[in-house]
Every structure is written in structure tokens, then in C-alpha cells.
């Protein structure tokens, strides 16, 4: 078990180092001279040299890289070129919006995905299975940004029951927060719900045909107890993996969803940074996202090995 954990941790660290290299190199690949952009077109060569020295840009590339990494991991991501505020603070303000939205979306996706998945597996060859399958296929084929636009069209404009935009924190006003986040969260969670439904359905079908379920039935356990206590429990492993694998999709989806519903989160920050060519902010956003993504994936893997003992045993044996 410990060896498995150590190996996964080491792999994540190596990936993280590669990520910082890519981000660092990406900024070097930008068109134009950063120093000239800072100093203005009129600056004389001596002033440019002075600035270059101040920012450490006259140092060899490896030294610059080491400095960049050291600063980044002490929480200094530079200052935004547009607002002059620290990038770390800007990100810290936007993050809660995205976290609340994503958490809500995952809850909705798991609820919808699990219920329809179980239903489709238990009620085979009925209208319920057919309906669940159709909804899942639509969930996979309808791009979530169009689903979002249609939702606004229907629930905010044709029948104004929900607000079309804006954000209220759940800690300030839970009811208003729910009203504001319901539509974005359903939109963001819809694709994930479809994937969970499909995986849950096939995992349930396999579990329901397995020997231990037959044993449970033979012991005289009721239908619901077998389905929920035995078959579903084992299907949850699959669902955990799927949620983990879909994290990147969720992050990308959040960017689009925030753009549609005008939520002042991480995603909107990202897009605005691109349009205003705020390179320090872009660099910070990319680094934070990649780090969070690597961390979350590691967490899912660890969670996975807690739920399914075979993983850690297998991992240890493979060594």
C-alpha cells in the first residue's frame, strides 16, 4: 500500500515539474518583448537594460526557471498586467465561485446519474430504460454551452422563473444562491450525469448477474436490499473513477458555463485574461488549474484504493 502511494506521489511530482516547465516555456514563446511592453515603446536602451536586470531577465534561462518555480510555490504568481493586483489574490477571489458551481454540478450529476443508471439496469426492457438511455445519449451529444443558452431562453426569458445571470455565495444567502446556481449547475453537470448513468448501468447489470447477488437473493434478502446494499455498492467504484476521469471536462465546462451565465469565477477570469492579453494572469491561471488537476487526480486514485482493496494489492504486487 505504502509503495503504491509513494509511486503515485512521485509520478505526480514529476508531472508537476514538467507542467511548470511547459508554463515557463510558454511565456518565453509569447510574441514581443515583455520588457519593452512594460517600459513602453519610447524607453531608451539603458532603461530597458535596467528593467531586464530588475526582473532577472538577464540571468541564464535555468536560473530564471528556478526563480520562477520558487516564487510560484511560495504563492507569488506575479502581478496582473491589467489591474496591477497580485495574480494570486485575483485567483483567490474568483475560485470560490467556481468551486461552489462545480460542487453543486457534481452533486446533481451523481444524483441524476445514479438514479437513472440503477433504474435502467433494474427495469430492463421497459419504457424507463429506453427513456434513461435516450436522455443519456442526448446528454452526450448536446454540447453543454448550447444546453445553457437554451435553458436561459426557456427558464429566464420565455418563462422568467430563474435569474439568467449573476452569482450569490451560498454562505451569504443560501436560497438566492440556489436560485442563481441551479441552472448553471444542471448545465455543467448534464454531460457528467450522462457518463455516470451509462457506466452505472453497465456496472449494475454486471453486478446483478454476479454470484454474490444470487447468494444474497437466495438468503432471502428483499429486492431493494440486494440492489442498493450489494450491487450498487460495488458499482460506486466505477462512478468514483468516472468522476475522477471527468475532472478535466468539468474544469473546461466551468469556463464555458461561467461565460454563459456571467459568473465571476475562475473560468471567466481565464477568458477575460486572454482577451486583455494579461500574460501574468494567464500564466497563473494555467499553473493553478494544472496543479489542482494533478492534485485532484491523485486524490481520486487514493480514494479509489480505499474503496477497492484490489487496487492497492495489485499496485503492490506489480512492484
Amino acid at each position: 500500500m505504502r509503495r503504491y502511494l509513494l509511486r503515485r506521489l512521485l509520478e505526480s511530482v514529476v508531472t508537476l515539474i514538467l507542467v511548470t516547465m511547459v508554463v515557463f516555456a510558454g511565456v518565453r514563446a509569447l510574441p514581443g518583448d515583455q520588457v519593452r511592453a512594460l517600459a513602453g515603446e519610447e524607453a531608451d536602451p539603458a532603461a530597458l537594460e535596467q528593467l531586464r536586470h530588475e526582473y532577472g531577465l538577464d540571468q541564464p534561462i535555468p536560473v530564471q526557471y528556478a526563480r520562477y518555480v520558487a516564487k510560484a510555490f511560495s504563492g507569488d504568481l506575479g502581478t496582473s498586467a491589467r489591474t496591477g493586483l497580485p495574480v494570486a489574490d485575483t485567483i483567490r477571489h474568483a475560485l470560490p465561485v467556481t468551486l461552489q458551481l462545480s460542487a453543486f454540478a457534481v452533486v446533481i450529476a451523481v444524483l441524476i446519474g445514479l438514479t437513472t443508471g440503477v433504474l435502467a439496469a433494474v427495469r430492463r426492457r421497459t419504457a424507463a430504460e429506453w427513456a434513461a438511455n435516450t436522455v443519456a445519449l442526448l446528454g452526450l451529444s448536446v454540447p453543454n454551452f448550447w444546453f445553457g443558452l437554451m435553458a436561459v431562453l426557456i427558464f429566464a426569458i420565455a418563462f422568467p422563473v430563474l435569474p439568467a445571470s449573476g452569482f450569490v455565495s451560498v454562505f451569504d444567502n443560501p436560497v438566492e444562491s440556489f436560485r442563481h446556481l441551479l441552472m448553471p449547475a444542471v448545465v455543467l453537470g448534464s454531460g457528467l450525469a450522462a457518463v455516470i448513468m451509462r457506466q452505472c448501468r453497465s456496472a449494475m447489470l454486471e453486478a446483478l448477474g454476479a454470484d454474490y447477488v444470487r447468494t444474497a437473493r437466495a438468503k432471502g434478502l428483499g429486492g431493494a436490499q440486494v440492489v442498493l446494499g450489494h450491487a450498487l455498492r460495488n458499482s460506486l467504484i466505477v462512478v468514483t473513477t468516472i468522476v475522477g476521469l471527468q475532472l478535466g471536462v468539468l474544469i473546461s465546462g466551468a469556463v464555458v458555463t461561467e461565460q454563459i451565465f456571467v459568473l465571476p469565477g475562475f473560468g471567466k477570469l481565464t477568458i477575460d485574461a486572454v482577451f486583455t492579453r494579461d500574460y501574468p494572469l494567464i500564466q497563473g491561471v494555467v499553473l493553478v488549474t494544472a496543479t489542482a488537476y494533478i492534485g485532484l487526480n491523485l486524490l481520486v486514485d487514493l480514494l479509489y484504493s480505499v474503496i477497492d482493496p484490489r487496487v492497492r494489492v495489485g499496485g503492490a504486487v506489480a512492484q
Partner: protein, 293 residues
């Protein structure tokens, strides 16, 4: 090694299994529906200049913001441009990006996957590379690229293609690992085949089925990807018609022209749905055992 006595031909070089797969595909009504829709969409995209009732860029301010009618099937936008024509031209961007991005991911991903699966020494390096690429969610990658290169159709192709490379590498690597343990490969090794011959003649042809299935999953994802990027302003830029660009310009006009949101979106849904149905059918046809599990 008893297998040496058997003929040293790769099974995929026989026409039989492929023909049987094609027959199974032709008998699948859902897959055929998908195929027809895909063909119609591709033709419409190719021949948009001929079949579109109006030029994509022609403005007509006397006919601005008209709802769908016999003259303008999908209505007109705020500049009086015919939305049906623009959807046809938009399909061109969708199909171009879809195919080009998948081509790019295959061109880079297949050789990497073959090498990683075939040479154990290279595997850790390729795996770390793939992990690093996976550490960038697709949109973040696109954001970085758009920041460096500026938003364009090529940026969209590169962003989507690069984002798909890790998946292609994984599929190819998995197939290579499986195939190199096959008896017929051992037989080819025993008869003195070089690594190049093994990879080209014996392993790659048999990995093609898995790659075809992967491509049918990837193409609709790439089409949606193009629409998303263009919608956000990171891909195709106006005035070039793209379904994503159309939706982006429709968003502020929600109240006055809801049809501008409906039709480009329906076109995307129909196209991706068709590709998904075709892909499901192909998977069933190429690997009947897998799909009935």
C-alpha cells in the same frame, strides 16, 4: 515454438473479417441513419457555395432579425444575413476542424503509442509526457495557445488535436502491448522480421480497428470543441461563419431573435448525434464480442 509451423500472416490482411464487419454495419439501421446524416452534412459543407440560397456574408438590413419563413428557413440575424446559408458554411468549419484535429492527434499519437508499447525502455518517458499533456484540461490548453498564437481556425485544430493525442497514445499503446504477445508476432520474430516490419506489417494493421473506433468518438468531440472555442472567441473569428461564432453573436440578441440560438445549436447536436450513432455501430460491427458484454 510450435507456432512457427503456422502461416505467418497477420489476420487483418485477410479480407473476410472486414467484409463481415461491413455487412454487420450495413444491417444496423441506427448506424446507417447516422452515416446518411454525416454524408449529407459533409456534402453540404463541401458544396455550401452551390447549395446555400444566399452568400454567407450578404447583409440585407431591410430583412434584419426576421423569424424563420419560406424565404429564410432559419430566419435572419441582426445584419439580415440568411441563417440557413450561414449554418451550411458553418458546417464547413465544423467538419474541417473535426477531421483535421483527429488527423493531427493520430499522426502524433499513433507512432508514440506504437513506440511506447513496443519498446519497454521508452514507455516511462512517453507515459510521463502523456500525463503532462493530460494535466492541461482542453480549454486551458486552448487558452494558452490562443494567448500565444492568437485565435484562429488553425489554433482550434491544434488545441483540439493536441488535447486528443494522449487518448490516441493510450489506445495505440494498449493495442500494441496486447498484439506483441500474440503468437503470430512471435512467429514473425522467429522468422527474422525486423522491428520496423513487425510494427508496420503485423501490429499496426491489427490496431486499426481500435483506432477507427477511437476516431469516431473523437470526431464529434472535436466538432463540439470547435463550437465551444469559437463561441468563447478562442477559435474561428467572425466574420468567418462557424456554428460557435453564430451562437456567440446570438447570445446578446436572445429576446429579439431566439431562432438565432436554436438552429446553429440543432445543427451541432444533429451532427454529433449522427457521428455517435455511426461510431456505436462501427464498434459493434468491428468487435461484436466487446459490445455484447
Amino acid at each position: 515454438m510450435t507456432t512457427v509451423a503456422e502461416p505467418v500472416t497477420a489476420p487483418a490482411s485477410l479480407a473476410g473479417p472486414r467484409r463481415r464487419a461491413l455487412r454487420r454495419l450495413l444491417r444496423n439501421p441506427l448506424a446507417m441513419t447516422g452515416l446518411v446524416v454525416v454524408l449529407v452534412a459533409v456534402l453540404a459543407a463541401l458544396l455550401a457555395d452551390l447549395v446555400a440560397p444566399y452568400p454567407a456574408a450578404r447583409t440585407d438590413f431591410s430583412a434584419a432579425l426576421q423569424p424563420p419563413s419560406g424565404r429564410h428557413w432559419f430566419g435572419t440575424d441582426e445584419l439580415g444575413r440568411d441563417q440557413f446559408s450561414r449554418v451550411l458554411f458553418g458546417l464547413r468549419a465544423s467538419v474541417t476542424v473535426g477531421l483535421a484535429a483527429v488527423g493531427l492527434s493520430m499522426a502524433v499519437g499513433v507512432p508514440l503509442g506504437l513506440l511506447a508499447g513496443f519498446y519497454r525502455v521508452l514507455d516511462p518517458f512517453v507515459s510521463r509526457l502523456v500525463d503532462t499533456m493530460l494535466a492541461f484540461p482542453f480549454l486551458i490548453l486552448a487558452v494558452g495557445l490562443a494567448a500565444i498564437r492568437g485565435a484562429s481556425l488553425v489554433t482550434a485544430v491544434v488545441a483540439i488535436g493536441v488535447a486528443e493525442i494522449p487518448l490516441v497514445v493510450r489506445v495505440t499503446r494498449g493495442e500494441t502491448l496486447r498484439l506483441r504477445e500474440m503468437d503470430y508476432v512471435s512467429a514473425a520474430v522467429a522468422s527474422g522480421a525486423s522491428d520496423g516490419v513487425l510494427l508496420r506489417r503485423h501490429i499496426l494493421p491489427n490496431a486499426v480497428n481500435a483506432l477507427i473506433v477511437q476516431a469516431t468518438v473523437t470526431i464529434p468531440a472535436a466538432i463540439i470543441g470547435e463550437a465551444v472555442l469559437s463561441f468563447l472567441g478562442l477559435g474561428v473569428r467572425p466574420p468567418t461563419p462557424s456554428l460557435g461564432v453564430m451562437l456567440a453573436s446570438a447570445q446578446p440578441l436572445f429576446r429579439d431573435g431566439p431562432w438565432m440560438v436554436v438552429f446553429p445549436g440543432l445543427a451541432i447536436v444533429l451532427l454529433t448525434l449522427a457521428f455517435n450513432l455511426l461510431g456505436d455501430g462501427l464498434r459493434d460491427a468491428l468487435d461484436p464480442r466487446e459490445s455484447h458484454r
